[in-house]
């Protein structure tokens, strides 16, 4: 294999394994936070809390309409200004979570609204309030419909986390870039990087399929 230095991949492996671990940690934390925020925003979107709906719309509008990279910089530079001194790691978690929550809010809203209106009518007919009908009737039924788009969102989040290399978090992409700068082997390491991401995302997809099957 002519001019390729595949040995660099072995050399980089311990660093990239560490980077992969950080990527997983950030993604897991961000996803947990994003799911919680997104679920609440999605529930508000279909609820009778009319005062809270416009802010949610504005939030979703902003998240969808601006690049994740810009959002990451905004969080990273804005939080210290308002007195929140977070480490780069937690800034990254917050930025990713805010980004993802906007999309999850829409997934949850669409999931809840996709349930046949007869279900809410039946819930009202036995005296349930709008909130009870959402929690006890619509949400349980929409969980299974929400799972596949939520998996997409997890995958997107893991891939978006590569942008956190710009705020010098030593995650997977950053770990590869450090070795590239040291050994000047960009192709080999970006190739390896792609494989690392594929492995991580394959594992996540399996988890999701398992969950979806359990919810069936």
């Amino acid at each position: 294999m002519g001019g390729f230095d595949w040995g660099a991949i072995w050399y980089a492996a311990p660093y990239m394994a560490k980077g992969a671990l950080v990527t997983l940690q950030i993604s897991a934390c961000a996803m947990a936070l994003a799911t919680a925020i997104g679920l609440v925003l999605g529930l508000i979107s279909v609820s009778d809390l009319n005062l809270l709906k416009p802010p949610v719309r504005v939030y979703v509008y902003f998240i969808r309409g601006t690049p994740a990279l810009v959002q990451i910089f905004l969080v990273y530079f804005a939080l210290p200004r308002i007195g929140l001194e977070l480490s780069a790691f937690w800034s990254g978690v917050v930025a990713l979570a805010f980004n993802s929550a906007g999309f999850i809010a829409e997934i949850v809203r669409a999931g809840l609204q996709s349930i046949d209106s007869g279900q809410s009518e039946a819930a009202f007919s036995i005296g349930m309030t709008v909130r009870q009908s959402i929690l006890f009737i619509l949400l349980p039924q929409s969980l299974r419909r929400i799972t596949p788009p939520l998996t997409n969102e997890v995958i997107t989040l893991v891939k978006t986390s590569s942008l956190l290399s710009v705020i010098s978090i030593f995650e997977l992409t950053r770990s590869a870039q450090v070795i590239i700068a040291e050994r000047f082997v960009p192709f080999e390491l970006y190739f390896a990087l792609a494989v690392y991401y594929l492995v991580v995302i394959t594992l996540l997809s399996w988890c999701s399929e398992y969950i979806e099957a359990r919810l069936a």
Binding site: D48, D116, G118, Q119, E121, A122, A123, F124, S125, I126, G127, M128, T129, V130, Q132, F136, I137, P140, Q141
Partner: protein, 268 residues
């Protein structure tokens, strides 16, 4: 509850009182100035061509649809709100939901909660709405399901039940809330013909038990046998309000025309 007792003692006080109820969609009055008074134990059959406003009338009574005009009083209580200083103040959502408990509804398409077993479909109302302990709510649900002869199917999901069985679960679900009034919105129209009888039997037994009910139906034989009154509706208006025998012998032109079509259809 107290109001119901007052009615029983007071004699003749209406259980349900509807005054000039209208529902207007896009300037079209789907329900047009309907008046109706019902006493305890009355069984009103609502009959009429499709698009007559029968379903919308029912949905306005329990406010799944908000009426455009007019008022609905159940046991003397205005379903829309409270009178304060001579003005009607609309109920906050919680109070509206609380009033709605007193009215049970059975839908054409059953609308059973798809994620719950038959037992929990019936138990969820008493449990979540009335605050009954889950074990007690399930015991009550089992009792209600036994009444509609579904004791062998309590652990099945709606998708595992026939249409007739689903509709009987839906009736048990409504009855578990101990309503003062039951609304049936074409309860057998979505059923295969051989399943209609079992559902009508259950409704008939409720009627014999003294339940006050309004039934929108196309089952003329059933309306005649079980109803104490027949309302004939067309274009949003109640055109006739008569005892069954009076209605089926009526000389009213639109009613005659409707019955002729229904009979031509069932004879075919």
């Amino acid at each position: 509850m107290t109001a119901a007792r007052l009615n029983a003692d007071g004699g003749g006080a209406p259980l349900l009182s509807i005054r000039r109820l209208s529902k207007i969609f896009d300037e079209v009055p789907v329900v047009d100035r309907v008046d109706l008074e019902m006493t305890q134990g009355e069984i009103v059959m609502v009959i009429g061509p499709s698009g007559a406003g029968k379903s919308t009338l029912l949905r306005c009574i329990n406010r799944i649809e908000v009426p455009s005009e007019g008022e609905v009083l159940l046991e003397g209580i205005n379903m829309a709100g409270e009178m304060r200083n001579g003005k009607l103040v609309a109920d906050p959502p919680k109070a509206a939901a609380r009033k709605r408990r007193r009215i049970g509804m059975v839908f054409q398409r059953f609308n059973l909660f798809a994620h719950l077993t038959a037992l929990d479909n019936v138990a969820i109302g008493p449990h979540r709405v009335l605050g009954t302990k889950l074990t007690d709510a399930r015991a009550l649900a089992a009792e209600q399901l036994a009444r509609v002869r579904l004791s062998d199917h309590v652990m099945k999901r709606p998708a595992q039940l026939s249409g007739g069985q689903q509709q009987r679960v839906a009736i048990a679900r409504a009855m578990a809330m101990r309503p003062a009034l039951m609304l049936f919105d074409e309860p057998t129209s979505a059923l295969d013909p051989e399943l209609v009888g079992e559902v009508l039997e259950v409704i008939r037994s409720l009627a014999e038990g003294g339940m006050t009910m309004i039934v929108v139906t196309h089952e003329m034989q059933f309306a005649r046998e079980v109803g104490t009154r027949v309302l004939f509706m067309d274009s949003g208006r109640v055109l006739l309000d008569a005892p069954p025998d009076g209605f089926f012998a009526s000389q009213h032109a639109r009613a005659r025309e409707f019955l002729r079509r229904v009979h031509a259809f069932s004879a075919a």
